[in-house]
């Protein structure tokens, strides 16, 4: 609200005095730490920062940030944050959600916030399980998952959250994971810098109900061979010696190849700024689960006017054309008559 320089802060300034109540060993701790440590570097003010959440383990997040915060209702955080962000363009609004919150009960709000390009940073902690209700399968759980509510295995085809967000034509779509603080911070920072809706899927370990769900791709020794770190403008390579890469076939589809077989010059160069979402969507389909090499980083980052900005423009245009609203004139905007 003030025009003076943003005060220098440390992690401590961004941490509230509330005792953190996630289960010991939960992946949420490392995400919280990554964010608290990163905030001082964003050049933003605590008083202009708002964390909005729904319901679920992840949704406790706002209580632990020393900013403005709103812990709302299950699935509705994107809708509530839409009202806040469009009426208060001066604020930095973050939405913290989980896979059940964002994709099950709140799926509708998520896709509409994304398509409208509301100026929000949406972080979805994906642990592929319902934690707070003690272990039912979620919309991202793999098919056949045996849980308390699915003793014979789940029947549902899971959502691929990145595909869903790109399908909704989100302007910023990225993925990171709770085992790599630097990667999280780089991804969150990019999401914050993006104007409009940013969607970040964070693979997060639930050590109580779904322990090790992402170990096969996020553990230190698996990362180089199983995570494909997307970098705008660079060939898409992975492996200990970048010996593997992504090739675009003549029909447009993608495949993983040995670089030696096709030549580095034929490896697809990642273009996150490509307006057409098709290629980003194809990248999101490279992996169907944690058994295949999985892309992380920024899939898509394009510019489009944000929703609140457009809403404000319409107001200013109307005021320019008609003058600032005048109640006396409004009351006489239909035919009137006078009784003497």
């Amino acid at each position: 609200m003030t025009s003076t320089a943003v005060p220098l802060t440390t992690r401590k300034d961004w941490s509230s005095d509330q005792e953190v109540r996630w289960c010991p060993g939960c992946g949420d701790y490392s995400i919280l730490a990554a964010l608290q440590m990163m905030m001082p570097d964003l050049g933003v003010r605590r008083e202009s920062t708002v964390f909005v959440s729904g319901i679920g383990c992840a949704a406790r997040f706002p209580y632990y940030m020393n900013t403005y915060g709103l812990h709302s209702i299950h699935g509705r955080a994107p809708a509530i944050a839409t009202g806040l962000a469009t009426t208060r363009p001066d604020l930095d609004v973050w939405v913290i959600s989980g896979d059940g919150d964002a994709l099950s009960i709140g799926g509708n709000h998520l896709i509409h916030a994304l398509r409208r390009n509301v100026n929000l940073n949406i972080l979805m902690f994906n642990n592929q399980i319902y934690g707070l209700t003690k272990g039912q399968y979620s919309p991202t759980s793999e098919q056949g998952k045996v849980t308390k509510s699915t003793p014979f295995g789940s029947l549902d085809q899971p959502f691929n959250p990145i595909s869903l967000a790109i399908g909704a034509e989100a302007t910023f779509v990225a993925r990171t994971h709770d085992m790599d603080r630097a990667h999280m911070q780089a991804t969150f920072t990019a999401a914050h810098q993006h104007k409009g809706a940013s969607f970040v899927e964070v693979y997060q370990n639930c050590n109580v109900f779904n322990d090790g769900a992402f170990n096969s791709i996020t553990s230190k020794d698996a990362r180089s061979s199983m995570l494909i770190d997307l970098k705008h403008g660079e060939p898409i390579l992975f492996g200990a010696d970048n010996e593997r890469g992504v090739l675009q076939r003549p029909d447009g589809s993608l495949e993983i190849v040995e670089v030696a077989d096709v030549g580095l010059e034929n490896i697809l160069v990642h273009d996150a700024h490509r307006p057409d979402p098709a290629l980003a969507f194809s990248l999101s389909r490279l992996s169907s689960g944690v058994v295949e090499p999985t892309p992380v980083g920024v899939f898509r980052d394009i510019q489009r006017s944000d929703y609140g900005e457009q809403m404000t423009e319409q107001v200013l245009e109307a005021q320019e054309k008609k003058g600032t609203g005048d109640l006396a004139k409004l009351f006489r905007s239909a035919s009137t008559w006078t009784v003497d």
């Binding site: 509330q18 509530i80 109307a318």
Partner: protein, 622 residues
């Protein structure tokens, strides 16, 4: 009507009902007739009555769309029990409405539409024009379609489209019959159809042909004149309930300096509030058509947290969906106005028809102890005051407020005395500006749930101010500090504080004034919402018989005004007419232990004054 020769007779009031297919333009015809009568200075009340389908099967009873208007030279409060004139554009329009007509009244039909096929569709076994069933009425058979087609021949529209101007023929004829000036309608046609000059031309020709038909056909023996009613001095505009509601919200925004935000999802009969507000961006109004009802109120709640005057509009089924978010607003204690334009339920029910059956839901339809003030508008124009009042309460007490209107108020219209803007009282958001407490160490701290001792309202602290950062949510909060608290004793205190805060509004709202001119009444009629007009008219009829009856009409239905119990204590009998199965009467019985007698109606139409009169007489034993 008159015996012979064309004379102009003065009458004090008339009720005209236009009825036809839902594609016949009956709403527009009624609207125009109303508008010219308003400008003439008549008092008026309207009742648009249309089907849920946009184009129900043509010619069927289900597809009949009607518009009733009551115009008079004196103060009236209802759209009239029974029409004096019915204009029926087809057999279905006749059949659907003839039962409401008293003998000796006038029926004007578009005779061109009366053929065997149309009789079959409307369910007539014989031609009603010739089978003697209309012998008790003054029947005028007018070839509206054929004359309209004839005069529009070279107007530039296709012959098929020319037929569509026949509603303007009907309007012209009725305008002639009731000596309405033509200029207003003719210039309105030019403006409205500016983009399609051939349609403007056809409508103009049809309107003139209708007017001239009255003059030259020698069918009618008299014209009628209804002179201006005596209104308090001032400037008037004819206004519907939905428009008045929208303007009340804009006024509240201007008077408080809070930017107005509407989050809404389209639903009949509430959508016109969204339409009206979306046109008024010069007032800084932000309207958001959300992806669903939940996002409608969710976005409004977000805007409220951000410091806007936040509103959501809906009707019955939407109120169901909003319940969870209203509960969060109860817990967050932020200003939020929820407008429920009631319609007949349950479920989709009768989406275009009036009912008052959401009262109990508004008062208590949420899980947990979650009190919410409920305001009810009583006439179309009074929706302005009701919307403004709902906003004032929401802001002063930091609470969601439910404003109940209904389909009858929403679409009905009446003259509104335009207030002097400088007479409208301003109000202040009174945002928190600084920390309001100190820590044990003596440092300043912001306590988001430290309450105002008088109103018990908590500070409203939108994000943006340093030192006031705080986190709140739907989990129970510690009294004062607002941090999460699972303590049972604290929860009980918070539940009681929330109740006491809302109960305290009983002293803020205007005390009831019982209308009891003689002071000798033993029976009081207690109503709320849109039944005001019918109750008022019914009560006056009883008084005209020399009997004593009192009337009180509630606009604050939760909490009840502080003096209500005492005021009712003077009476021995209590009659509670409602368009539901007795919801207010339950609340009154529970609260005041009075023997409230219900008069209920759930037929999708308002009470008639005669029904109220009869019920009062029966209760009085007169």
């Amino acid at each position: 009507m008159a015996e012979s020769g064309l004379v102009t007779e003065k009458i004090d009031r008339v009720v005209v009902r236009f009825a036809g297919d839902s594609g016949d333009g009956m709403q527009l015809t009624g609207d125009r007739f109303t508008e010219v009568s308003a400008i003439l200075g008549n008092d008026l009340a309207t009742f648009p009555d249309y089907p849920a389908e946009i184009r129900a099967p043509a010619g069927t009873i289900g597809g009949v769309s009607a518009f009733q208007v009551h115009i008079s030279d004196h103060d009236i409060s209802t759209h009239g029990d029974s029409p004096n004139v019915l204009v029926a554009m087809n057999p279905a329009g006749l059949k659907a409405n003839i039962a409401a007509m008293e003998r000796g009244t006038t029926v004007i039909v578009n005779v061109d539409a009366f053929d065997e096929r149309a009789f079959a569709k409307a369910g007539y076994a014989t031609n009603p024009l010739t089978d003697g069933s209309l012998s008790n009425f003054h029947l005028y058979e007018v070839p509206m379609t054929s004359i309209t087609q004839e005069v529009c021949k070279d107007a530039g529209v296709k012959p098929r489209d020319a037929e569509r101007s026949k509603n303007f023929f009907a309007l012209g004829l009725v305008s002639w019959l009731f000596t309405r000036p033509t200029e207003g309608t003719l210039s309105w046609i030019q403006t409205r159809f500016q983009a399609r000059p051939e349609v403007a031309e056809a409508n103009t020709r049809a309107f003139r042909a209708g007017f001239d038909f009255g003059e030259t056909a020698e069918l009618f023996h008299a014209r009628y004149e209804i002179t201006a009613a005596t209104f308090p001095k001032g400037e008037y505009v004819n206004i519907t309930g939905n428009t008045a509601t929208a303007w009340g919200l804009i006024a509240a925004s201007q008077l408080s300096g809070l930017p107005l935000f509407l989050g809404s999802y389209p639903i009949t009969p509430a959508s016109d509030i969204l339409h009206e507000l979306s046109k008024r961006k010069e007032f800084g109004v932000r309207t958001f058509q959300a992806e669903d009802e939940i996002a409608g109120i969710g976005s409004a709640l977000g805007a409220a947290v951000g410091g806007s005057l936040a509103v959501t509009t809906t009707s019955g089924p939407g109120l169901d969906l909003k319940a969870e978010t209203i509960g969060l607003a109860v817990s967050l204690e932020v200003p939020l106005v929820i407008i429920d334009v009631q319609r007949a339920g349950p479920s989709t029910g009768l989406p275009t028809k009036v009912e008052q059956s959401d009262l109990l839901q508004a008062v208590s339809g949420r899980h947990g102890e979650s009190p919410v003030p409920v305001i009810a508008a009583k006439t179309p124009a009074q929706c302005f005051d009701a919307a403004l009042e709902a906003c004032r309460i929401a802001v002063k007490y930091r609470t969601p407020v439910i404003l109940l209107t209904d389909a009858y108020l929403a679409n009905g219209s009446e003259p509104w005395l335009i207030p002097d803007v400088s007479d409208l009282e301003r109000f202040d958001a009174d945002f928190a500006t600084a920390p309001n407490g100190t820590t044990a160490e003596g440092d300043p701290i912001f306590l988001p749930y430290l309450r105002d001792p008088e109103t018990l309202a908590r500070p409203w602290a939108p994000p943006g101010l340093p030192g006031l950062e705080h986190r709140i949510g739907g989990l129970e909060k510690a009294d004062g500090a607002g941090t999460v608290s699972y303590d049972g004793g604290n929860h009980e205190r918070m539940v009681e504080l929330r109740r006491d805060r809302i109960d305290g509004i009983a002293n803020y709202v205007a005390p009831v004034e019982i209308d009891d001119p003689s002071g000798a009444a033993e029976l009081v009629v207690i109503g709320w919402g849109s039944t005001y007009g019918a109750l008022n008219a019914g009560v006056n009829r009883v008084r005209a018989r020399g009997l004593h009856v009192a009337h009180v009409h509630l606009t604050s239905v939760h909490p009840f005004p502080a003096n209500l119990g005492e005021a009712l204590g003077r009476y021995k009998k209590f009659l509670v007419p409602e368009l539901n199965l007795g919801q207010l009467s339950q609340l009154l019985r529970a609260r005041y232990l009075i023997d409230a007698q219900s008069l209920t109606k759930v037929r999708g139409v308002p009470f008639q004054a005669a029904e109220i009169e009869a019920a009062i007489l029966e209760t009085l034993g007169a």
